[in-house]
Amino acid sequence: MINVKNVSKHFKNETAIDYNDITFEDGKAYMLLGASGCGKSTLLNMIAGILSPESGSIEINGEDIIRKSQKEKDLFRIKKIGYIFQDFKLIPEMTVADNINILKLEGVDTSSMDEILDKLSILDKKNKKVKHLSGGEKQRVAIARAIVKKPDIILADEPTGNLNFAIGEAVIKELVQISKGKTLIAVTHDERLSKYFDHTIDMNEVTGGRRDV
């Protein structure tokens, strides 16, 4: 379970976002909607330990991620969180397999890679360089990298942002399907995809947008 309490995040441009308390239950799929700049991606980055809020707490299974050291946050992220980025965050010159095997640097077991690539219908692309893949295929590789370590939580920051609706819908369907039993929090602008999630949260209501500091 993820509990976000009294969190406030300040930015370098002298603005801040205050979050109302939110709870994400284990094993459920959440879709975060909202206007640009309302704090959707920031919330994902704080849950992942990439950004630190100035106040409040983010408890994951009773442990406050904010209080952890950077090293502990890194370890937590590599072991417990599968993060899918909007711009994929893949090394284009490397193959699909090598991009996933980067996780081995931190001792992650990637033995289920073939099975996951097969489920995502890109097993035949395993030894292809990422730069030669289509946008949809790249997003599937990003999903595979997030899933392969069997994380408890999957965070997806606009996973369909670079894809047309048909491909985006297919990717979301696969993502929800493959994330069954795990906590999935996905940011998206497209309300039409809400039917695939257990809950939809309007982030405009959670934060009320940015304020000047």
Partner: protein
């Protein structure tokens, strides 16, 4: 980690090749410069110890020493054989060896001498020549290898040093009776024969080529190499022969010069030592340039890798692992560059061997000096240090929130 480092390097292979090339070029120049200066220095020092005095015609003492000890340059002139006989019979002289030079086989110089001259040498095949048997010859290892010579071969020689002289013909051909063992000295590049061979060769050829001007006359030699029975007698022996007057076969009066090999060689070595110091300074400058070039390349490389590092950080790879990854990559680059630089320096030594042997310098590609290991270790360390500093400063910043 190692496997991933290799894969990561493969995707940047063009950049890696350019980095390796730049390190190899600068490092091999440093290694090569140091090796050559040391080999020249060692070669001079080894050869110097053999004789205490050289007596020859008056003229350049450096030319006299270099010609008789390193077989370089042309002889200063000729002196009557009578000089050798006088010196040999001198009670203060322990060893007197006649020396003459003026003919060649292709590019190999022919030295007329006695077999005592090769006392400290051994043959890999055949035997030493007999001083009293004209036209017998012992061939240096390098000459035998270059021209594919073996015992029993006949060598048709030419007049003059170097190629282009007129042939002495089959009737004056040398009989190869032995091949010297490899010495890695100037002896490898020379053919040795009794002094009588030179005289008889010219009595043969003069009949046919009387119009040709000769470097030396019948019954004359170029110098006498001397070791004294008592070093305390050096000054008296030197003053006895220095400026002594003799009459050559043409009835002309010639004056002698008796030089101390240690004095002449000290002058030469002083110059060589100075050159060695210059080379050493150059090596240090090259290494400093290496540090600068490699640091810049590494920093640019790390800057290029910033995106890659940020990506790894985002998915949770710790800075410690990232640091290690880049250190391994640069260690591989450093190791490959160092090994290649060493290889290139050896190839250059082999390639230069032929060219510099004509200058009396014998280069041995197998000779490795301890300072070369220092240069290679420095190159290796230099290729890692900037990465360590760079990754260390990056890990201090962490950069994940940037």
């Amino acid at each position: 980690m190692f496997k991933f480092a290799l894969k990561n390097m493969m995707i940047k292979k063009v950049k890696i090749i350019l980095i390796v090339l730049s390190i190899v070029i600068s490092a091999s120049v440093a290694i090569l410069a140091y090796n050559i200066s040391q080999q020249v220095d060692d070669g001079l020092k080894t050869t110097t110890a053999k004789y205490t005095m050289i007596i020859g015609p008056s003229g350049s003492s450096t030319q006299l020493a270099m010609n008789t000890m390193f077989f370089t340059d042309k002889p200063v002139g000729t002196i009557p054989y009578e000089v050798y006989e006088d010196i040999k019979n001198d009670p203060d002289v322990a060893v007197a060896i006649p020396f003459t030079m003026g003919d060649s086989y292709n590019s190999a110089k022919i030295v007329g001498t006695s077999n005592e001259f090769l006392n400290d040498k051994t043959v890999s095949d055949g035997r030493m020549f007999e001083s009293s048997v004209a036209f017998e010859a012992v061939v240096g290892y390098g000459v035998a290898e270059k021209y594919g010579l073996k015992v029993g071969d006949k060598l048709v020689t030419s007049h003059g040093i170097g190629e282009g002289g007129h042939s002495h013909g089959d009737s004056a051909a040398l009989n190869v009776v032995g091949i010297l063992d490899k010495t890695n000295t100037n002896y490898d590049n020379v053919i040795f024969t009794p002094v009588e061979t030179v005289w008889k060769t010219h009595s043969h050829s003069e009949d046919d080529h009387s119009e040709h001007e000769h470097d030396h006359e019948h019954g004359e030699i170029c110098a006498v190499l001397v070791n004294l029975s008592n070093m305390g007698k050096f000054t008296s022996v030197q003053s006895k022969y220095q400026n002594a007057d003799y009459v050559n076969e043409d009835g002309e009066e010639i004056s002698l010069s008796a030089i101390s090999t240690s004095e002449v060689m000290r002058d030469i070595l002083d110059n060589v030592d100075m050159s060695s110091h210059i080379v050493l300074i150059l090596c240090v400058i090259i290494l400093l340039m290496n540090i600068f070039i490699i640091s810049i390349i590494t920093l640019l490389n790390m800057y290029d890798s910033k995106k890659e590092i940020a990506l790894m950080r985002l998915i949770g790879v710790g800075m410690k692992k990232i640091n290690l990854l880049y250190i391994i990559q640069n260690a591989i680059v450093g190791f490959i560059s160092t090994v290649l630089a060493f290889g290139v320096s050896r190839i250059c030594l082999i390639a230069m061997k032929e060219y510099v042997s004509s200058m009396g310098i014998v280069l041995n590609a197998g000779a490795i000096f301890s300072f070369e290991w220092v240069i290679m270790a420095a190159v290796f360390v230099i290729s890692i240090i900037p990465t360590v500093i760079c990754t260390f400063s990056m890990s201090r910043k962490d950069g994940i929130e940037e």
